[in-house]
């Protein structure tokens, strides 16, 4: 207790602001560096995995209804049949093909995710950036608005609103979700804009007489890209989960196929007690896999934004290969490569490559750099 460091600067709990801070330093160095950095995000194994899975879902959303083997509403005589050659994921209580229902449903899930993501992100950028930029009373009002939306319990509210609309379609759901899901993004963006506003390059732009609009669009927004992307991805995750939940409890239109609708029918027809696992297991797995893909993409963005998480983003094997021995507990050590380089030219060590700021060493003494 006594030797707990209470250094204000050191004990900063990482809130969004300080994570975000380091993002800004990113794209400001020379062009060569910048190019390299652009690929840091894409090179990250987590984000690649996430992006690939997401791409598969997007393709399925586009072609799903065409490649579905059956019409999802076609009733057949194979009632509640387990998976077989003609029905890959079995059939439901009316003999409808579950696989086709899921394929067709992918589109509405992705549409809700996309529309909610775009809508909520636009709102967040609009409100967050203007609050941060205007300051004063407009800032107070907009922040209070965002905070109120953060505190109001969203799910019960959405359920109450959605249940009032008869057969709410995907679009209605997406709009309701966007209207309730923008607040967190706005708060993060406001914090970041506040910290950007005082930076030298913004001051310089202002001094050269650039218009406010230009400063916002061309000086501020590009520096917020990573945060906007991350807030977009989390909103999509939120939207997919909420839409599935709403469809599951039956407040959306039940004739509109989505993954949640499949779960709704399964629950409403005692799929559980009838042991029809093929009816409800795949739908939930799809949601989980899509959510996982989005989270992985967000991890990639996080590591891109927060250099401290970055080293940890390397896999154990990767670290061993590049000669990094993780020190348990504190900063990893970068051990310089063995003394094979006797030439006098500066050698860039392979350590910490993902940070894009390789440690340049000129000495051929084996020494340790603690990073």
């Amino acid at each position: 207790m006594s030797n707990l460091p209470i250094d204000p600067a050191a004990a900063v709990p990482v809130d969004t602001e300080s994570i975000v801070e380091s993002a800004v330093e990113g794209p400001s160095t020379d062009p060569a560096h910048r190019k390299k950095k652009k690929f840091v995000f894409v090179r990250n194994a987590k984000s690649i995995t996430g992006l690939v899975i997401l791409a598969v879902f997007v393709v399925l959303a586009i072609v799903g209804p065409w490649i579905a083997p059956h019409n999802p509403n076609d009733v057949s005589l194979d009632l509640l049949a387990p998976p077989s050659g003609s029905h890959w994921l079995g059939t439901d209580h009316l003999g409808r093909d579950v696989f086709s229902q899921l394929l067709v449903g992918t589109r509405s899930v992705m549409i809700v995710g996309l529309v909610t993501g775009v809508g909520a992100t636009l709102l967040a950028v609009l409100i967050g950036v203007s609050a941060g930029f205007l300051g004063g009373i407009p800032d107070e009002v907009l922040s209070a608005l965002a905070n109120i939306f953060l505190v109001l319990p969203a799910l019960p509210l959405i359920i109450i609103i959605a249940s009032q609309m008869d057969n709410a379609g995907s679009m209605v759901i997406a709009l309701v979700l966007a209207a309730t899901g923008w607040a967190w993004g706005a708060r993060v963006l406001r914090a970041q804009t506040l910290s950007l506003r005082g930076r030298d390059f913004i001051e310089a732009a202002r001094a050269t007489g650039e218009s406010t609009g230009r400063i916002v669009w061309f000086e501020t927004l590009p520096n917020l890209t990573a945060i906007i992307a991350s807030s977009f991805v989390s909103t999509v995750t939120f939207a997919v989960l909420s839409q599935t939940t709403l469809a599951f409890i039956g407040v959306t239109s039940i004739s509109d196929w989505s993954w949640g609708t499949v779960l709704y029918w399964a629950q409403a027809n005692q799929a559980l007690s009838r042991g029809a696992w093929w009816w409800f297991v795949p739908a939930g797995l799809l949601v989980a896999v899509l959510g996982m893909a989005l989270t992985l993409i967000n991890f990639g963005i996080d590591e891109f934004v927060n250099p401290r998480l970055r080293l940890a983003g390397m896999s154990a094997r990767e670290m061993r290969r590049s000669g990094i021995r993780p020190r348990i507990g504190f900063t990893a050590r970068v051990r310089n490569l063995p003394r094979t380089y006797a030439h006098p030219t500066p050698v860039v060590s392979a350590g910490v490559r993902s940070s894009g700021e390789p440690v340049a060493t000129t000495s051929d003494e084996p020494k340790e750099t603690v990073r």
């Binding site: 030797n3 707990l4 460091p5 209470i6 204000p8 050191a10 004990a11 709990p13 990482v14 809130d15 987590k46 209070a144 905070n147 109120i148 505190v151 109001l152 319990p153 799910l155 019960p156 509210l157 109450i160 609103i161 009032q164 008869d166 995750t237 989960l241 939940t245 599951f248 409890i249 779960l263 399964a266 629950q267 559980l272 007690s273 042991g275 696992w277 409800f280 939930g284 949601v287 989980a288 896999v289 899509l290 959510g291 996982m292 989005l294 989270t295 992985l296 991890f299 401290r308 998480l309 940890a312 390397m314 896999s315 154990a316 670290m319 993780p326 348990i328 507990g329 504190f330 900063t331």
Partner: protein
């Protein structure tokens, strides 16, 4: 102090917004609750009684909206939430009082377990980052993005239907009278196990990830390096220096999550037919029971607001810097 006062002002504002929203929702909604009540009682209510029902439920169209709004506030400040339509003539407050303890006990317990477990695991994973421990993370993301009601369905299918170890629904064996006897408590624990397991499994991942990332960040602070350089035992550095500072955001998120104890598990109660506040809300929506809907929404909002206040107070208490600001 100024900080707390400012926050208090904000909470008053939010409470006002919530109540106002609450007031308007049923009034812009379609459907006539009194009509549906009359239909339920099939001609047992005569015309005079119908009119008094409209007045009683505050749906008298002759009053101005403003007058209704003022009346609504008066009622709420007196703690009067109206009479439930679905459980006519039970007052809403009674319905809520009956269902709230179930939700709070079950979800509260599950939340505490998830937080403690998640923080401990997260501390360990964060300390050992860059080793095999990192490979657990993708598994965690899977659990954090799974829809939790679906996990509940899986558990029912597996542990209640295929292997009937636990009961699939209700909070206690139907027919038992609630008491503090051993048999009853045993039944409650047995019935609560699956719902609690569902909540813990689906929420623990978030706590682990949060704590782990904080540990990684704090781990590269100078004071941790110094502590290690002083030759302090590993365990001491890990818990006394790194985890102590990393746990701050966890504590405040824990306080916040207490607010979601009431609302966070609405769907879980539907899946497990648990007689909590969520099941009540769905019943209210199905029966167009506006007073009950409003009452439940109000209770949930108040819970969230209280949790936020708690989080602020805790933070001021734990983190000296917020005190300096004020």
């Amino acid at each position: 102090m100024k900080f707390l006062l400012r926050r208090l002002g904000f909470y008053v504002l939010t409470a006002w917004a919530a109540v106002t929203l609450n007031f308007f929702i049923p009034r812009v909604m379609k459907g006539d609750p009194v009509q549906s009540l009359i239909n339920r009682f099939q001609g047992q209510i005569d015309q005079d009684a119908v009119h008094s029902l409209y007045v009683l439920f505050g749906l008298d169209k002759k009053q101005s909206l403003w007058q209704q709004y003022v009346d609504y506030w008066k009622e709420i400040l007196h703690g009067n939430l109206g009479i439930s339509f679905a459980f006519f003539p039970t007052p809403v407050s009674q319905v809520i009082k009956d269902s709230l303890p179930w939700t709070v006990a079950l979800v509260g317990m599950a939340t505490i377990i998830a937080v403690v477990l998640g923080t401990l695991i997260g501390t360990y994973l964060g300390w050992r980052r860059g080793t095999w421990a990192d490979s657990i993370l993708p598994v965690m993301t899977f659990f954090s993005s799974v829809p939790y009601f679906w996990l509940g369905l899986l558990f029912i299918a597996l542990l209640a239907v295929t292997f009937p170890v636990f009961p699939a629904s209700n909070a206690y064996t139907p027919g038992m009278t609630p008491s503090f006897s051993f048999a009853f408590l045993q039944s409650v624990v047995q019935h609560g196990f699956l719902p609690a397991l569902t909540i813990v499994l689906s929420s623990v991942a978030g706590w682990i990830l949060g704590m782990r990332n904080m540990m990684v960040t704090v781990g590269s602070e100078d004071y941790v390096t110094v502590a290690q350089a002083k030759g302090l035992p590993e365990r001491r550095v890990m818990y006394g220096y790194a985890a102590r500072n990393a746990v701050l955001p966890q504590v405040s998120s824990f306080a916040l999550s207490l607010g979601f104890v009431v609302s966070g598990s609405l769907v879980m109660e539907l899946v497990f037919s648990y007689p909590g506040i969520g099941a009540q809300l769905f019943a209210a929506i199905g029966a167009k029971d506006y007073p009950l809907m409003q009452g439940i929404f109000l209770v949930i909002t108040v819970a969230v607001l209280l949790a936020n206040i708690l989080a602020d107070v805790v933070y001021v208490f734990l983190d000296p810097r917020t005190r300096q600001e004020g």
